[in-house]
């Protein structure tokens, strides 16, 4: 076999198999990045959670000790409870977003600008949102107390009261999230089949019943995405807590993600193993939703 022959067969092999080679080459860089920065770290975190490690010296294998400690850790318990609160209350963003979307789904002049402005909070960093709401709640000069005072109520120290602080942060979190859901629903409403609405109108459906029986079922894809992003948002809540209360007062606004950070990299923390164990728990919670999401996507793919 001469060199040119070999080249030729090489070339034709490539030619003949380009349907196989091409996707591999296209996938490779992205996949590599993803493996190194996402998949492997997940596995490593799980591994670290079985060690005691301050991030400086050599890790000590301690088996399930970190998890056992979690079971008796009050702060962890508070974090889980707060996470549940986040999960449940954050979902209010969905009806909230729907409501605003319905309000804005008109074609009057300038409505595009209004829609964008309503979407505004989502574009702003959570750090700024947190700051803005901290001032809003400020017990001495906050707008909230100014308003409450005007109607003869208050004052309340939302972020200083362990019974209210978490809710206060969730409200701040809802602000951009509602905007996000709103935009999802606006795009969803765009895709609603107008003939179905007309058919329903002829069928005598109006107002709420139209919404419930005809519109909402058609908005299912939007609702699904809104649900997913809201759940993710709820479980990722970190920036706001860090900016608004720093976990306080006395740890009452901690959630898993924040507690994990505190334990692993915080001022007094550096318990990497323990932090990893918290992260694993958070991951397991998330896994439920990931599984649900993949499952519905799989059904969709199969149906398509």
């Amino acid at each position: 076999m001469t060199a040119t022959d070999r080249q030729a067969t090489g070339a034709t092999w490539l030619r003949r198999n380009r349907q196989v080679v091409a996707p591999v080459l296209f996938l490779l860089p992205g996949l590599l990045f993803f493996l190194v920065y996402v998949l492997l770290p997940v596995a490593q975190s799980v591994q670290i959670s079985f060690f005691r490690w301050d991030g400086l010296g050599e890790p000590d294998y301690v088996g399930l000790a970190n998890y056992r400690e979690l079971a008796g850790d009050r702060a962890f318990e508070v974090s889980v409870i707060n996470n549940v609160k986040w999960l449940l209350l954050y979902l209010l963003a969905i009806p909230g977003g729907l409501f605003i979307a319905l309000f804005l789904n008109q074609t009057v002049t300038g409505i595009r600008l209004y829609k964008s402005l309503f979407f505004f909070p989502f574009v702003i960093s959570q750090v700024v949102v947190g700051l803005v709401f901290t001032w809003f709640y400020d017990p001495t000069f906050g707008l909230l107390n100014a308003i409450l005072g005007a109607v003869g109520l208050g004052p309340v120290n939302v972020l200083g009261d362990p019974a209210l602080a978490t809710y206060g942060i969730i409200v701040a979190g809802l602000w951009p999230q509602v905007a996000y859901c709103m935009i999802l629903y606006l795009t969803g409403l765009n895709a609603v089949d107008p003939e179905q609405v007309e058919a329903a109108r002829l069928d005598g459906a109006k107002g709420w019943r139209m919404l419930w029986y005809v519109i909402l079922p058609q908005l299912r894809p939007a609702t699904f995405i809104a649900f997913v992003v809201t759940i993710i948002g709820a479980l990722r809540s970190f920036d706001l807590i860090s900016v608004m209360t720093n976990g306080g007062p006395f740890g009452s606004t901690r959630v898993l993600s924040f507690y994990m950070f505190e334990k692993a990299l915080g001022e007094y923390g550096f318990r990497m193993g323990y932090g990893a164990a918290i992260a694993v728990v958070l991951f397991l919670i998330m896994l439920v939703f990931i599984a649900y999401f993949l499952w519905s996507m799989w059904r969709q793919e199969r149906g398509a």
Partner: protein, 351 residues
């Protein structure tokens, strides 16, 4: 009495008028078909009757009742959409029963009506399926079933068959005809399909640019069109139009090298007019000045496309076993009574 009457109905979108003073009466129990070129306002008119578009001016009556400002649901009409507009998340039975449910009918009554409708449309086996699991024809049947269930006085159809393939379209057409016979309600039907219009209609309304051009029974429109537009629109393949001139009290058609004496009241000598001849009324004769450009054999019938020396083109229906071949030179003949004449400017028929 549940006919539909339109009096000087007008529809404007902003400043553009898309329906101009339409006067129309659809009798009780009549099957009325709207035809016309795309964009002429067929759907708009239908939707005005349904109440899905506000009527800018004029009056719409259903039966004796003025419904110009009434809600769609209160007009006693049902509509079948081109895209079926079935609710994808409901089963067939739920789709059909939805209207009654919304108007608060008891469940038992709804069930009975749905069953009755599904019997008429042979949908019994499908009642529990979702629309996704139905074929196009079945979906359209469900859409019709949904209309039937509500027992409306007037059915409105907007190109209900145009999303179906040719075969199914034929079947569904026959089905709709049967349905009309069976329930006898007033039906208004929009289509751009010749065959549907001709075969289904008691009366056809020909629309053009928001105006009614002619109203009449299908064969009347075919035989006796009022103007060139209607003549060209009804009949397939279309009528051939040829330049003609009034000479010596007769009509001369240069392209066919013929002069025809007609009974019509012709315009003054020398006036240029238009002669109309349907392909099926022309007979090919071998030899002549016309060349067969293309011969399309469809089995039982062929269409010969002819070109004259002066650029005139016409289509001739060719039947029988001996058919014209491409490139052949031919001439055509016709019975003078088959000749239609139109004013060159206004397009109005010269009778």
């Amino acid at each position: 009495m549940t006919g539909v009457t339109l009096e000087k109905a007008v529809k404007k979108y902003g400043e553009t008028r898309v329906i101009h003073d339409v006067d129309l009466t659809v009798e009780d129990g009549e099957f009325c078909v709207f035809v016309g070129p795309s964009g002429c306002g067929k759907s708009t008119l239908l939707r005005m009757i349904a109440g899905l578009e506000a009527t800018t001016a004029g009056t719409i009556r259903i039966g004796a009742r003025d419904v110009t400002r009434a809600e769609p649901a209160d007009r006693g009409v049902a509509m079948v959409f081109q895209t079926y507009a079935l609710y994808p998340h409901m089963t067939v039975a739920e789709n059909m029963g939805f209207g009654l449910k919304m108007t608060g009918h008891p469940k038992a009554e709804i069930d009975a009506k749905v069953r009755e409708a599904s019997r008429i449309l042979k949908l019994d086996a499908l009642l529990d399926r979702k629309p996704k699991a139905l074929s196009g024809g079945q979906r359209q049947r469900v859409a019709i079933g949904r209309a039937i269930v509500r027992g409306p006085a007037v059915f409105l159809f907007d190109e209900p068959l145009s999303n179906l393939d040719a075969e199914l379209r034929v079947d569904m057409r026959v089905e709709i005809a049967r349905l009309h016979k069976e329930i006898g309600a007033t039906m208004i039907y929009v289509t751009h399909d010749q065959t549907e219009a001709m075969t289904l209609a008691d009366r056809i309304v020909v629309l053009r640019a928001g105006r009614v051009e002619q109203v009449g029974a299908p064969m009347d429109l075919y035989r006796d069109p009022d103007n060139r537009f209607v003549a060209g629109f009804i009949g397939s393949p279309s009528m051939n139009f040829l330049d003609a001139r009034v000479t010596d009290g007769a009509v001369e058609i240069p392209a066919l090298e013929r002069r025809v004496e007609v009974a019509a009241s012709l315009p003054p000598e020398g006036t240029a007019i238009v002669a109309g001849l349907r392909p099926e009324h022309l007979v090919l004769e071998p030899g002549g000045t016309l060349e067969v450009d293309l011969a399309e054999a469809l089995g039982g019938v062929s269409y010969a496309h002819l070109a004259g020396p002066d650029g005139a083109r016409l289509v001739v229906e060719d039947r029988g076993d001996r058919r014209a071949a491409e490139g052949e030179r031919v001439s055509v003949t016709f019975e003078p009574r088959r000749l239609y004449l139109f004013d060159r400017e206004t397009g109005l028929r010269i009778r």
